[in-house]
Symmetry: C2
Subunit: 225 residues, 2 copies
Amino acid sequence: MNERSNSQREGSRAEASANAIVFIVEDDVSMRRSLTNLFQSVGLDVVAFGSAREMLQSKLPDVVSCLVLDVRLPGLSGLEFQTELAKSNIHIPIIFITGHGDIPMSVRAMKGGAVDFLTKPFRDQELLDAVIAATERDRKRRAAEQTVVNLKSLFETLSPREQAVMKLVATGLMNKQIAAELGLAEITVKIYRGHVMKKMRARSLADLIRMTETLGLRANRPEQT
Amino acid sequence: MNERSNSQREGSRAEASANAIVFIVEDDVSMRRSLTNLFQSVGLDVVAFGSAREMLQSKLPDVVSCLVLDVRLPGLSGLEFQTELAKSNIHIPIIFITGHGDIPMSVRAMKGGAVDFLTKPFRDQELLDAVIAATERDRKRRAAEQTVVNLKSLFETLSPREQAVMKLVATGLMNKQIAAELGLAEITVKIYRGHVMKKMRARSLADLIRMTETLGLRANRPEQT
DNA sequence: AGAACAACTATACCTACGTTTGTAATGCGC
DNA sequence: GCGCATTACAAACGTAGGTATAGTTGTTCT
């Protein structure tokens, strides 16, 4: 129904950002085909759609990617689609292309986090540069996200009490204070604390504190200056 | 030479973002005057210039502010001015206004961090909303910046040796390891470490670690997962 | 019923951390 | 030369952190 070309993935040349997928949403068939060819010619994988709904209905693979999106589309417009993706917590970097755009459109797109907003006709290289920038942005976002996810899954291996102790340790309380706070004996806190260090794979308290920062933990009580 | 109207700062009504300054750079005198009136009418202080150079030559007060900037200007253009300000590490949020803009201009401006890019004619409320958003952004940036500056000045009260100890503490080393690293006796490290806690006003190790994060410290040796 | 685990505590012991008091050499500014 | 900050260490002491061993409940899964 639409060209779903998981291109020549081994093209002997090692282009920058190989293995990244470029999604295309563009209703004009010839434009869609020429975009597909352009990206494939530099070794990028391409998945193209004719409308926003088609893309929403397909399940997106969880790899580094970006989206080249026509502003004017049948059904959901490009800008509306951008809003929808944001609402659905899909953070794919978007490059808009348009033949008949105006400034308010471009400003709205950029405010919404778009990587670029190109007007037809544009030079191939402009678009490729934007795609490189976009995939790079996605790669970084994914790396950061992965760090958080990894830490979260470690954190979830902690028993509720261990989690509570970890939070209070992160706020800088002493074991005896934590014990008082939770109605425990100090020795119990020490033991849970030991469990926390092991399960979180923290090599030092400094390490653990940084993990709590990344996780956005920290029990109510204020501290920091 | 240009209207430098530090408006009616006590207008009985307590508008949002009072005490903020709106800078205006606009060569058209009547436009400049009407912008000035608009902002003053809602209780904002205004400082207006006819060109980018005039603004660069005046010393900018260190308070929450934003810049309403015409894209088309004699001498340095609005976009060039934006670049100059960034190069000079001046982070004032910019709202562009223009009569004859195009999409590439607006995209460049937004990529450069502009808050908004309005085309004439625009409704007063649009501009005011943008100014509110811009001053709010500046307020937050300044608060974050101030935190860092405060910590930096505390850090600079530390002797070189104390700073070195602090960095190694932040990496999670034990006192004896720090001592080995610096060629000191452990007792010496303990004493310096005590100085560090006092001088940095850290109430706990967790507190100190977070300070080092904010300061971007951390000696070479990797740790974090 | 029995295994497995979470939660909780105690005794004992060891290490790490932190402070106080005191000593001493070096170097800088006035 | 005097004062002062910095760097450095020691002895002594007290507190905080951490582990091992061992034991009691209580729940849940099988």
